[in-house]
Structure formats: structure tokens, C-alpha cells
């Protein structure tokens, strides 16, 4: 081809290149995913958190430690093998969803998108309350944990572990702040628990304050100390606390894709049941919550703390007859059954104990609060007030004895009323020592003692090693399941 014919070709190419270049670089919205949005829907985030929250109140593992439950075929946790449970999934899941609600509502760039879902203050207040609840359940199990440097969305890569004392003080302050933050604006959408009823959220927050303060009783025992002061403030708060079962924090499962966790536990598996020790405690008290087959599906308990050899050989026959007691009876374990996460009986028992300790001087006496609590628990589970009254007549239940004996009776009734929330049962046993539990006979751990905390999980050892090790160094005996969390003073 001679030169003259080549020139127009080269010029055409060059022209195309120059004019086309800018066009090439502008991709418009090719890299914007048509199926997703960059601003979250805060109501949907809230529903997501509430959909999973009952998981914190239906844990099996602490239920094994406090002997509500026992393992049938594969005893392991009941024998105190040292499992390593991680909490980072809770932080990265529901807790960051709460934080995201707070961030989205607080940032003027994104808050307009959140406004249709309710008043911004109300949304943030609820997210703060839920975040506090999650922190409480984490620190009660593991002890020190990331708090002040957590949930930054990756800005702080290695969050330090805060002391449990600071976490407790922090969440109490958060709950106080949240209650005052609520305003009279639009009620919130996506609330599958209280349906946007702000007064119930305030009662829930105060109830948490009561329970959290009482848990510090070993550290701040007397009436003028920090715990008692917090307790009184929450009790006398104008918004009130949960006093009837109608105000319970209850998650009602729709079934289908979202099923009751106890249902899911038995869906194809038979690994867990109600323990023999718990059933015999209740039978000894003639407790109708057990005898009427509510707490369990039968009166045949699963032996606690025995090894696999015993469970498969000596007990294997009873296991295969399938009449042993499952956790809760069938009607409370349907796909669409409800889970009471925080209920009135526990709050009234807390008030009874605070009254007996002299922390509060409310009009109702400790005995009245105690009786009311038992009645509330009975009616919560579908029994009648009459049955609660005859239960109360049992000498072991009646509110008599020295101050210490009465406090122990409160603790015993609380242990029974908290079932089947394994975490709360284990926390209260650690705090009060009631009931007296015998450690597993075939325990596999070197100390053989009932664990007093979860050891830190493997994930944080790989991703946040220095901080976990620093926290472990503060524990007696290092990161062991026999070390005690701060409020669990010896």
C-alpha cells in the first residue's frame, strides 16, 4: 500500500481514539448493583436484629452449665470440654446493624432516607437499647470484651478489650440516655416485638437497668453503693418497668422461614433434653410448671454429667423409647411459638430481692413482690392464679426465714422462672450459688468444676491477638473457663 493511502487510515484511527477516549472512561452506573441499595433501610435493619435476638435467650450451652438441660447422645459441653465460642459474629451481625441504624439516623447525609421509618430519635434510642442488651449478654458470658473501640466499621482494626466493670457502667449509661432520647415523633416501623409502642420500649429499658444493676450485687452489696443507686433510679423512673406479662419482651415467630429456635433444635435431631437434676428439683417442690408438663414434655429427665458410654449403654434403652423430656412441651415448641426474652416474673423477683436487701423502700413488701412474681410466672406459662397460690403454700416456697434464707428463696424461684433462658440461669447461679449444683460426674476438664465463663474464641486470637492476650493476662489462671468475670466475685 503506498503512503498516501495509509495516511487517511492513520488519521481516522487517531481521531477516533481522541474523541472516543473521554467516552470510554465514563461508565455511568455500570458499577452500581441494580439489585442492592447503598443506603440501608433502618426499619429492615431493626427487624433483622429483632428476628435474631431471641437467640441470646435460647442458648443451650450455658443451660448445660446451670443444669437446666442435659445432652443425650453426644455429651461434651456438659462434661466441660473446653469449647471455644466466638463473639465476633454477634458484633458483626446484629450489633453492627444496631450501630448502622444509629449512624444512618445521625448522619445528615443519610438521615432523610431514615425519616419515613419513624422519628430519628426514637430509632436511635431503640438501637441503643438493643445494642446494650447484646453487650450485656456477651460480657456476662466472656467477661472483658471490646466495647469503647468496637463497632467502628473497620476504622479501628484492633479494638482493645474493655473491663467488664466499664462495660456495665457504659451500658447502664446508654440505657439511661436512650430513655430520655425518645420523643413524641412518629413511631417506628419494623418493630416486630412492641409494634412501635414507645412506652413499652421505655419499660423494657428500665427493666434491663434493674437486672443489670442487681447482677453487680457481689461487687456493690450495700444500699448506698452504685448498684443500689442505679436500681432505685430505674425503679422510680417515670416510664416504669415491666410489671405484667402484657409488657414482656416477647418474639412471636411467624413460622416458615423464621422458626422458633426450640423447634429448630428438635428438627431432625434429638441431642438435648431437660435434665434429671432440674426435674427432681421441681418435683420436690410440687411445681406445676414441671408436673403439668410445661417446662418439659414428660417427667423423665436426661441424666446430667455422664459420659457417652453411660448415656449409650445404661441409658440407651430409655433414650430409644423416646419418652424422655424435651425442653418445653410440644405446644411451646411449635414453629410459630413465642420466646419470652425478658419477662415480668424476673423483674418482680429482682425488685423483691432489692427490697429484702434494703436497696429500695417501695410500697410493696418483698413478700408481696415475691408472690406476685410467682403468679406472673405461672400465668406466663398458662397456669392459673389458684395453682400459683397452692404452690406458694409449699414450705420450701413460702417466704419465711432469715433475710439470707429469704434471699435464697427468691434466688431459687428466679432460677426456676428464668428457664429455659440458659444464659440468665447460669448468670444467676454464678451470682447467688442457688440452687446448689453438683458438677458433672464424668467431667473432662482438669478442674472438673462447673465453668464460670466462656474462654475467648479462636477468631479473635487470630485477628486481634495482642488485645485478647492482654485481656486473658488479667484473668486468674489466664483464659480459662474457671476464671471468674468481674461481677462473679469469690
Amino acid at each position: 500500500m503506498n503512503l498516501f493511502k495509509r495516511v487517511p487510515l492513520v488519521v481516522a484511527l487517531a481521531a477516533g481514539l481522541v474523541t472516543g477516549c473521554e467516552k470510554i472512561k465514563d461508565f455511568g452506573d455500570t458499577n452500581v448493583d441494580p439489585n442492592r441499595t447503598t443506603t440501608p433501610n433502618t426499619a429492615a435493619l431493626l427487624t433483622n436484629v429483632l428476628a435474631a435476638i431471641a437467640g441470646r435467650a435460647t442458648q443451650q450451652n450455658p443451660g448445660f452449665y446451670c443444669q437446666y438441660f442435659a445432652e443425650t447422645q453426644y455429651p461434651g459441653i456438659s462434661l466441660y470440654t473446653i469449647p471455644q465460642f466466638d463473639f465476633d459474629g454477634i458484633y458483626a451481625g446484629p450489633m453492627y446493624d444496631c450501630q448502622n441504624i444509629i449512624n444512618t439516623c445521625s448522619d445528615p447525609l443519610t438521615s432523610p432516607a431514615a425519616e419515613p421509618n419513624g422519628s430519628l430519635n426514637n430509632q436511635v434510642a431503640i438501637a441503643r437499647i438493643l445494642k446494650a442488651y447484646h453487650y450485656w449478654t456477651i460480657t456476662d458470658a466472656w467477661g472483658d470484651a471490646p466495647y469503647s473501640q468496637a463497632l467502628t466499621g473497620g476504622s479501628i482494626q484492633f479494638p482493645v478489650y474493655d473491663k467488664q466493670e466499664d462495660i456495665y457502667k457504659g451500658i447502664l449509661s446508654e440505657l439511661r440516655g436512650a430513655i430520655t432520647q425518645f420523643d413524641a415523633g412518629n413511631s417506628i416501623k419494623g418493630d416486630i416485638v412492641y409494634n412501635g409502642d414507645i412506652s413499652k420500649w421505655k419499660k423494657f429499658a428500665n427493666s434491663l437497668r434493674l437486672l443489670i444493676s442487681l447482677r453487680m450485687s457481689k461487687r456493690y452489696p450495700s444500699g448506698g453503693d452504685f448498684a443500689a443507686t442505679e436500681f432505685k433510679a430505674a425503679l422510680t423512673d417515670a416510664a416504669g418497668s415491666i410489671e405484667t406479662n402484657a409488657d414482656n419482651f416477647t418474639v412471636v415467630y411467624p413460622g416458615g422461614s423464621f422458626r422458633n429456635p426450640w423447634y429448630a433444635l428438635y428438627d431432625g435431631r434429638k441431642d438435648v433434653g431437660e435434665s434429671v437434676s432440674f426435674i427432681s428439683l421441681l418435683t420436690g417442690l410440687a411445681d406445676r410448671r414441671q408436673l403439668s408438663a410445661i417446662y418439659g414434655s414428660s417427667q423423665i429427665g436426661v441424666p446430667y454429667g455422664r459420659n457417652r458410654e453411660y448415656m449409650n449403654n445404661q441409658w440407651g434403652g430409655i433414650f430409644s423409647q423416646d419418652q424422655w423430656s424435651r425442653i418445653l412441651n410440644d405446644s411451646h415448641r411449635a414453629e410459630n411459638s413465642a420466646v419470652d426474652v425478658i419477662h415480668a416474673a424476673a423483674i418482680l423477683l429482682a425488685r423483691a430481692e432489692a427490697r429484702e436487701r434494703g436497696w429500695t423502700t417501695e410500697t410493696l413488701t418483698a413478700e408481696e413482690l415475691y408472690r406476685k412474681a410467682i403468679t406472673l410466672s405461672f400465668t406466663q406459662w398458662g397456669l392459673s392464679e389458684g395453682e400459683a397460690t397452692s404452690y406458694y403454700n409449699n414450705v420450701a416456697v413460702a417466704y419465711t426465714g432469715t433475710i439470707a434464707e429469704k434471699i435464697n428463696k427468691i434466688a431459687l424461684q428466679r432460677y426456676i422462672a428464668l428457664y429455659p433462658d440458659g444464659l440468665q440461669g447460669w448468670c444467676e447461679w454464678r451470682r447467688t450459688g442457688v440452687p446448689a449444683l453438683t458438677a458433672a460426674q464424668d467431667a473432662l476438664s482438669s478442674s472438673g468444676n462447673i465453668p464460670r465463663r466462656f474462654v475467648y474464641g479462636a477468631n479473635d486470637y487470630s485477628t486481634n491477638k495482642e488485645n485478647v492476650q492482654a485481656a486473658a493476662a488479667l484473668l486468674e489462671g489466664g483464659d480459662s473457663q474457671d476464671a471468674r468475670v468481674w461481677w462473679d466475685k469469690n
Binding site: 441499595t37 429492615a44 450489633m95 466499621g153 473497620g154
Partner: protein, 443 residues
């Protein structure tokens, strides 16, 4: 005789941050020296030395530049659910460029009857966009960021030979061999010297082995719970009051099991042609070295499904019999002081204790295997003779078997060539063998 090629390239991709262009280049040179020595070395039909240097882009996957939310497909009584993603992009995320240098030689002898190719490569990946793990307590578990640098060096060899060329039968053999000399992680992120890249899901306190990248070490190292050893001998618990009396003691630290990368890989492809129209292909793949963890093996041993839980012990008595009757598994090792010790342990306790204490030595295998990857018989239909020349140029019919036969592997329970995760097999479905027919028509 002397060739050189130079390429300059610019990439502007929608997946990159706006305005970022990635420029890559490459330079390849080759010198066909056989042209010079054609007369002196008649047996050398072709000889070339080549050297090249090139860079390639490392792009980001689509839609990764911002945090985006999707709605759960299910609703809770009409309420939608949305979850915050667990991977966030770093705000300075951008594409990267990796470079490779290569030098090699191609030789062919005896009129292309024999051929040999050797290549040495050295490639460097610098600040590639990867998903780095964070502590989930920060609210996210992974950050997509420009961290991650690796250096790889290796040798690839190819060997071809036509052992038989006859009128009605010919055999073509092609063999490849690759050895990676080095695959080192040179950097991760500031302040991070280790990254977990793969691992099994933890279940009820049982934490399967993990694969990590550690700075300065080889890519993909497997760590997991294991037996404590003194001078290579497993330590046995000799305290009669201990719940694991007579069984192996767990090492308090994670044990290093080796790299998940194989040492050599390669294959052998054979093509046999009979009577001009029939072709038989026999392709073999092989791999030596590397480690993987088998979750199926672990649970199979725990639950007594595998054959190893029902063998005879050294006394000739089934291990499932009680120790009191002479049964049980024999554990051999040393005690805490290094003195030889040996016990008989109830079989079920033994297998359960291994899993519950996260002792995984028995469930980690080599990735070595030799496999007949493909076997096919083909027939070239003589279209000329069938008088269909007008619309059909060629037709070949073949029967193909894929994944035909695992000729050798160190573990009999799982096929190492079918592992789906980097760290191993996690209860995945077994691989499958397929047999099919193929008809290829040319128009």
C-alpha cells in the same frame, strides 16, 4: 531469527474507581538459534531461546467499591429484613498490577520427533486488592483493601515425543511437569502479619484447621490442633485421674501441618492413532505434596462409620471390644518426661476424645495423586466416501470418560483431586466420573 514484541496497554474498567487507568506493558524477545546451526547440528530441527517481561492487571470484582445492601427474600409478617454486609471496601481501594519475568528454551530434535521446553518464571504481586480479615468486633469481618503481596518462582517443563510413527499406528506423547520453587507472602497489611484465608466452620467448640498466609512464609500454611510431641513422639497422658488417661495429649499451641500447595504438578497426554481414522486419548494428571484436611474423615471416625474404627488391634482382637476383654486401641508414645509409654483405650472414647480435643493429626492427608483424567475413543467418519461433501466437511464421533480412574492416592477415603476448599474437604459431595459421547461436525 531474532524476534521482539512490545505491547503497551491501558485499561479503564468500570469496576475500578472512576478515573483510574491501569497501564500494563510487555516485552518479549526470542532468538531462534537453530537457524544459525542448521548445518552443523542436523539433528536439531528447532531451537529457540526466549525471554519476556510483562505486567498484568489485577482488577476488582464488580460492585465492590461501595457497601451495598440487599433485602432478605423472606419477610417477617410483611416486614422486610436487611443485614449489614460483613465485607467493607477500603476507601482507598484500587486496581493493581502484577509483573512476571520469564526465560525459557524450546528445543526440537530429529525432525520434530522429540521436543523439550523449559521455562523459569518469577512473578511478583504487589498490593493486590484482596479481602483481608479483621476482628469481627469492629463490626465487619473483612476489609477489601490493597494489601497482599506475594512472590512466586517456578519451573515449567514440557516434553514431547513421538515414539512410534508407522503406517497404521502412531503414538504421540506429551508430558508436563511444574514445580513451584517459591510462593512467599511478602506483605499483608500494615500491622497484620498473618491472614486466615480458609478454614472450616467451627461447630460447638470444635475448631477445624485453618490455612493462613504469614509474612515471610509460604502461601497457604495449614495450622490446626494436634498432638503434643517430644522429639517427634506423641505424648500420652499418664495421670490415672485425668479424663484422658492413656490418650494423646493436645499441644497447647496450634500445630503446623504443612503447606496446602503441592510440590509438583503435571500430566501425561497420550494420543494413539490407528488406521488413520481411530484416535485414542489417554490423559493422566498427577500431583505430589501439599496437605488437606478431611472433615468427613473426622466425623466418620467420631461416629464409627469408617473402617479404621473397626479394625483389629495388635493382639488380634477387635478394637471395639472392651479393654478388659483384650480389645481397645493401643496408644504408643512417651509420657510427659519422654519415657516410652503405651496404653489400651476404649475405642469410642479414643475417637471421641480426639475430635473433642481438636486433635486432627489423623485427618490430615497428602494431596498427592495420580489420576486418569480422560480416556477417549474417537472415530473420524470418512465424509469423503459418504458423498456428503457438499455440506459436511468433517465429522468425528467419540466416546469420552472423564475422571475415569484414581490410579493412586495416599488416602483411600477421599479423592484429593476433588477438594473444594483451600484448606480441605468439608463434607462436600464426592467427585463424579462421567462417560459421554461426542459428535463433532464441521461445515
Amino acid at each position: 531469527m531474532l524476534f521482539a514484541e512490545f505491547v503497551l496497554r491501558g485499561d479503564w474498567a468500570s469496576v475500578l474507581p472512576p478515573g483510574q487507568g491501569l497501564f500494563t506493558n510487555s516485552l518479549g524477545t526470542s532468538f531462534v538459534f537453530s537457524d544459525l546451526v542448521k548445518n552443523e547440528l542436523p539433528w536439531l530441527s528447532y531451537g529457540k531461546i526466549r525471554a519476556s517481561y510483562g505486567t498484568v492487571t489485577r482488577l476488582i470484582d464488580p460492585y465492590q467499591l461501595s457497601v451495598a445492601y440487599s433485602l432478605n427474600t423472606q419477610t417477617w409478617n410483611g416486614n422486610g429484613l436487611m443485614a449489614t454486609p460483613n465485607t467493607f471496601p477500603d476507601k482507598n481501594l484500587k486496581g493493581a498490577v502484577a509483573s512476571t519475568k520469564e526465560i525459557g528454551i524450546d528445543l526440537r530434535f530429529l525432525k520434530n520427533r522429540l521436543g523439550l521446553s523449559v521455562t523459569y518464571y518469577h512473578s511478583v504481586d504487589d498490593k493486590a486488592p484482596i479481602s483481608a480479615q479483621l476482628s469481627g468486633t469492629s463490626g465487619v469481618t473483612n476489609l477489601l483493601a490493597n494489601v497482599g503481596s506475594t512472590r512466586r518462582r517456578g519451573i515449567d517443563m514440557q516434553f514431547s515425543i513421538k515414539p512410534i510413527i508407522a503406517k497404521d499406528f502412531s503414538w504421540d506423547l506429551n508430558a508436563t511437569f511444574s514445580k513451584q520453587l517459591e510462593n512467599t507472602v511478602t506483605a499483608i497489611a500494615p500491622g497484620v502479619d498473618q491472614l486466615i484465608i480458609s478454614g472450616g466452620a467451627s461447630f460447638n467448640g470444635i475448631n477445624p484447621p485453618i490455612t493462613v498466609n504469614a509474612v515471610g512464609k509460604q502461601w497457604g500454611m495449614m495450622y490446626g490442633g494436634g498432638v503434643k510431641r517430644i522429639n517427634g513422639q506423641p505424648v500420652i497422658e499418664t495421670d490415672p485421674t485425668s479424663p484422658v488417661y492413656g490418650q494423646y495429649v493436645k499441644d497447647p499451641d496450634l500445630v503446623f501441618y504443612g503447606s496446602v500447595l503441592p510440590e509438583y504438578t503435571g500430566g501425561v497426554q497420550n494420543t494413539f492413532t490407528l488406521f488413520k481414522n481411530f484416535t485414542i486419548n489417554v490423559n493422566i494428571d498427577y500431583q505430589v505434596g501439599g496437605k488437606f484436611f478431611s472433615l468427613s474423615d473426622m466425623w466418620g471416625s467420631y461416629s464409627g462409620l469408617l473402617a479404621r474404627t473397626a479394625v483389629l488391634n495388635d493382639k488380634g482382637i477387635p478394637i471395639r471390644n472392651a479393654v478388659a476383654d483384650g480389645g481397645g486401641i493401643k496408644t504408643t508414645g512417651v509420657d510427659e518426661n519422654g519415657k516410652p509409654a503405651s496404653f489400651y483405650v476404649e475405642a469410642q472414647s479414643y475417637f471421641h476424645s480426639l475430635v473433642e480435643n481438636n486433635i486432627f493429626d489423623d485427618y490430615i492427608y497428602d494431596l498427592s495423586f495420580v489420576k486418569l483424567r480422560e480416556l477417549s475413543f474417537g472415530y473420524k467418519i470418512p465424509v469423503n466416501k459418504l458423498n456428503v461433501r457438499r455440506f459436511l466437511q468433517s465429522a468425528t464421533f467419540s466416546i469420552v470418560a472423564r475422571n475415569a480412574w484414581l490410579i493412586y492416592s495416599k488416602t483411600k477415603d477421599f479423592d484429593p483431586a476433588e477438594i473444594s476448599s483451600v484448606y480441605g474437604e468439608d463434607g462436600q459431595l464426592p467427585g463424579s466420573r462421567s462417560i459421554g459421547v461426542n459428535l463433532r461436525l464441521g461445515f
